[in-house]
């Protein structure tokens, strides 16, 4: 187990190094510099700016300088938002993105489990048909369709919830719904499949024969085994939620890291982009690691050798 963790953490380092390298060179080979403005800066000033951000000199020197700064934990300064360091921007915006992601994650898992179990328990009945019909619909519709429609209905026509923004709990409701909806549906479909299979097994018949309440049979006995495919989807789910939150933050005007991410690409703000990408990838890799560990706790037959 310890050896497994160490190996995976070394792999994390390798992944981050690759990601940083790819991002750095992609943003450098793309046309336009970080200081291109509507009106061109005088060459002398541009030269001074490039010097200040250590973007002069040959490309490989810029790259090694950047990497050695990163190893020392310095994410450097943003070239667009003057006098703000990338670390500072991330500390302000990440909690917002994480809060949105965490609530969507919770909703996706809880909603998906309840829907999936209900559908599997009532296989072939109207409950099953309705749940799976809803699920196929929600899986097919992306956030930028659901989001504006929710705003139109709940904020503008009914006036129940705010249009967007951030701060009070009400502002979290529509973005969370928008972000989580497809994954509630996806988890429900995944779980229904494995649950139907599990419910046909002998130990479930034994549990029923003992006279256990149906709810206990479903949620305590069957779900424990049937949940495994859902657990292995949690890693990709986190990746989807991080990507998806970029759009949701844009629709609902939420001051999270997603907006900065998009702007950093448009502004050729390489250091800010690098910082966001590093944090996103690190989060994902660590999350996948946690999922793998959780997997062994749920199913003792699996051992961590890989």
């Amino acid at each position: 187990m310890i050896a497994f963790l160490i190996r995976r953490l070394v792999a994390l380092g390798v992944v981050l190094f690759c990601v940083v390298t790819i991002t750095f060179f992609l943003i450098r080979i793309s046309p336009g510099g970080p200081f291109d403005r509507e009106r061109k800066l005088p060459p002398a000033i541009e030269k001074k700016l490039l010097e200040k951000y250590e973007l002069d000199g040959p490309l490989w020197q810029q790259y090694t300088g950047y990497v050695s700064d990163l190893i020392r934990g310095d994410l450097r300064d943003s070239t667009k938002y003057l006098n703000r360091s990338v670390g500072e921007i991330l500390i302000q915006t990440l909690p917002v993105t994480m809060a949105l992601g965490a609530s969507a994650f919770a909703l996706a898992v809880c909603g998906g489990v309840v829907l999936g179990v209900t559908a599997a328990a009532g296989k072939g009945t109207w409950k099953d048909t309705l749940a799976m019909f809803f699920a196929l619909g929600a899986v097919s519709l992306p956030a930028f369709i659901v989001g504006p429609i929710l705003i139109l209905v709940f904020s503008l026509w009914l006036g129940w919830l705010p249009v967007g923004g951030w701060g009070s709990p009400e502002t979290l409701i529509l973005p969370t719904l928008t972000l989580a909806a497809p994954y509630v549906a996806y988890i429900a479909r995944l779980l229904r499949g494995s649950m139907v299979e599990t419910l046909g097994q002998d130990y479930i018949r034994t549990a029923r024969a003992k006279g256990l309440a149906e709810r206990v049979v479903l949620y305590r006995h069957a779900l424990r085994v049937a949940i495994l495919p859902v657990v292995s989807f949690l890693g990709p789910l986190a990746a989807h939620l991080l990507t998806g939150s970029i759009v949701v933050e844009t629709i609902f005007h939420i001051p999270g890291a997603g907006g900065f991410f998009v702007n950093s690409i448009l502004n050729r703000d390489g250091f800010l982009l690098g910082g966001v990408v590093i944090v996103y990838c690190a989060l994902l890799v660590l999350f996948n690691l946690a999922v793998d560990v959780l997997y062994t706790l749920l199913d003792r037959r699996i051992r961590l050798d890989g």
């Binding site: 990746a239 970029i246 994902l284 890799v285």
Partner: protein
């Protein structure tokens, strides 16, 4: 899997027939519709933000362009990108899965490990960066070569290609699984015994047996690529104005939503057009899976 039997089962499946009719109708309407509208509808006019009326059934936008015309032409772009992107991913996924499954052993393990890793990387984020990095390069290259058609649509070409490049993982996994299973069948052993080359076995014996699965995932990948394209266009990084796709129309609509003047038609019509297309394609893919999947037909 006899073709006649599969076709009969497909025709019996009402959801499949209905959704394929819907998809066909949408394709025909988006392709021919703009010809039936007055040519002036494509141009900006003084009639800004007019609500739906008889002359403009879907209303007009900020620049006074007819929203119906915009939704139809936007649909052409969305469908084109979806279809071509899915074909690119189909090609990569099938080739990758075939090779991994047929080679087996260490190469297979290594190739599938790569797929696992790619699954948990936020791929769209890299597409965002790639498109920005390569677009001007391709434009420069195209104008140097004198390919004028490519200069104006270089962004779409890059979109199609890069979306195809990221959407192949699921198909690769499935093709690999099927190949592993088929590989051990007698007809493959016979082909090996007859001394056929690996390439001939892959293309002549294994590939034809995979067409059902590939067809299913083609119908499921098209909506996925349409969603990806709209995601990028929604953020303003995909299709560029004055060209439109459903994603960029939705972005315009969402941007003009405000409590004082509710211009619902700018959101509702592109959203409905896109939702119906995506739903029909997904229902079709699901129904095809029920009728064509060899796993189901065994039962």
């Amino acid at each position: 899997m006899g073709d006649g039997r599969a076709w009969r089962r497909f025709r019996k499946n009402r959801v499949a027939v209905l959704s394929s009719l819907v998809v066909a109708t949408i394709a025909v309407v988006t392709l021919t519709g703009p010809f039936f509208l007055p040519p002036s509808y494509a141009q900006p006019s003084a009639l800004s933000f007019a609500p739906p009326s008889l002359a403009h059934p879907f209303g007009t936008d900020l620049n006074g362009r007819d929203v119906l015309h915009r939704v139809l032409t936007g649909g052409q772009i969305s469908l084109l990108v979806g279809l071509c992107g899915a074909l690119v991913s189909l090609f990569i996924g099938t080739a990758y899965g075939l090779v991994a499954g047929y080679a087996g052993g260490r190469l297979d393990a290594a190739m599938m490990r790569i797929v696992d890793v790619l699954y948990s990387v936020p791929r769209l984020i890299f597409i965002l960066i790639c498109i920005n990095a390569f677009n001007a390069k391709l434009q420069g290259f195209a104008s140097e070569m004198g390919w004028d058609w490519l200069v104006s649509s270089s962004r779409i070409a890059i979109l199609i290609f890069s979306l195809g490049v990221i959407e192949w993982l699921t198909l690769a996994r499935i093709v690999r699984g099927q190949t592993l299973e088929l590989k051990s069948r007698a007809f493959v052993t016979a082909a090996v015994g007859l001394g056929q080359s690996h390439f001939a076995i892959l293309t002549r014996h294994l590939l034809p047996n995979l067409t059902g699965v590939i067809l299913i995932y083609l119908t499921l990948t098209i909506p996925a690529v349409i969603i990806d394209e709209s995601f990028l266009s929604f953020l303003g990084l995909g299709v560029q104005a004055p060209m439109a796709s459903w994603g960029s129309l939705l972005a315009d609509g969402a941007g003009s939503l405000n409590p004082i003047k509710i211009r619902w038609w700018l959101v509702v019509f592109p959203a409905v057009a896109m939702a119906v297309t995506l739903l029909a394609l997904n229902f079709l893919g699901d129904a095809l899976r029920d009728t064509l999947d060899p796993k189901n037909s065994a039962k």
